[in-house]
């Protein structure tokens, strides 16, 4: 049962991920991204990480992809008819990525130890306790980072139109 679910979710995720890359229209890419995130959420559930499955759906599909769809619809782009890349570029890139993936997979299967879990570690209590003890400083730095990002977004997207004779810059 576990294996069947794993295969189903994996195929779903990879298929949707290739849809992101292959779709001509950015809106289809965004919806494909949503499907891929749902598949990933199923994989997280399969590994027993209920918290991260929830976060995946809430934050990724609820916030990030909605932002993508919003921008795509705001810009109102027409689908470009031009050929995005020739066959040689595609072949070279695919070959390079394939080679890179093989090396990565080899390294991963060697580097990560193989152990069977006894108790689930994905309890909210464990995570929050760690977040406020061992990872307190990274957590605080993250809050500062978010503040900087808010200021940066305001600075970037502010409209720069200055009325003549106006005092504000």
């Amino acid at each position: 049962m576990r294996e069947i679910l794993f295969v189903a979710f994996s195929l779903f995720t990879i298929g949707a991920a290739s849809g992101v890359f292959l779709a001509r229209n950015p809106v289809y890419s965004a919806f494909s991204l949503i499907l891929s995130f749902f598949g990933l959420s199923g994989l997280y559930l399969l590994w027993g990480s209920t918290f991260m499955a929830m976060i995946q759906i809430l934050i990724y599909t609820g916030a990030i992809v909605v932002l993508f769809v919003f921008v795509v619809m705001l810009l109102n782009l027409q689908v470009n008819r031009e050929n995005p890349s020739n066959l040689l570029t595609l072949g070279i890139s695919a070959g390079a990525v394939w080679f890179f993936s093989l090396i990565l997979l080899r390294v991963l299967t060697r580097a990560i130890p193989n152990k069977i879990p006894e108790i689930p570690t994905d309890q909210l209590r464990t995570i929050s306790k760690l977040l406020f003890t061992r990872y307190l400083w990274p957590f605080e730095v993250l809050s500062l980072f978010l503040l900087v990002m808010i200021i940066a977004i305001f600075a970037i997207t502010r409209t720069q139109e200055i009325p003549h004779g106006g005092e504000q810059r």
């Binding site: 990879i14 932002l67 782009l77 993936s101 997979l105 994905d122 995570i127 990002m149 997207t157």
Partner: protein, 104 residues
């Protein structure tokens, strides 16, 4: 050919395949928004690997790292799309080939 049959191996395979798809899209697509989506795809491949390893080796540190990654990814997308909006306002296009000069 003898394929490895463990679920761990195939989970790594899924993560690496997803990362490869994201990398291909990042290298080949011209639309800036789709390139940002492909970056998200790569981040999610890493998240999958982290969560799988964390649950298997019974260490919660990987999940903490994933929480950080999700936060940074959300901020990165917001800033990236803000830049895309501004570029569209400047150039009237989101094609990466049209952004050639550093000088605005």
């Amino acid at each position: 050919m003898n394929f490895p049959t463990s679920l761990t191996y195939w989970s790594h395979f899924v993560a690496v395949a997803m990362f490869a798809l994201g990398l291909l899209g990042f290298l080949l697509r011209k639309n800036t928004i789709v390139v940002l989506m492909c970056i998200e795809l790569m981040l999610n491949a890493v998240n999958l690997l982290l969560i799988e390893t964390s649950m298997r080796t019974n260490t919660p540190d990987g999940i903490i790292l994933v929480v950080f990654v999700v936060t940074v990814a959300a901020a990165e997308v917001a800033v990236g799309l803000g830049i895309v909006l501004n570029l569209y306002r400047l150039k009237g296009s989101v094609n990466l080939d049209h952004f050639k000069s550093l000088q605005g």
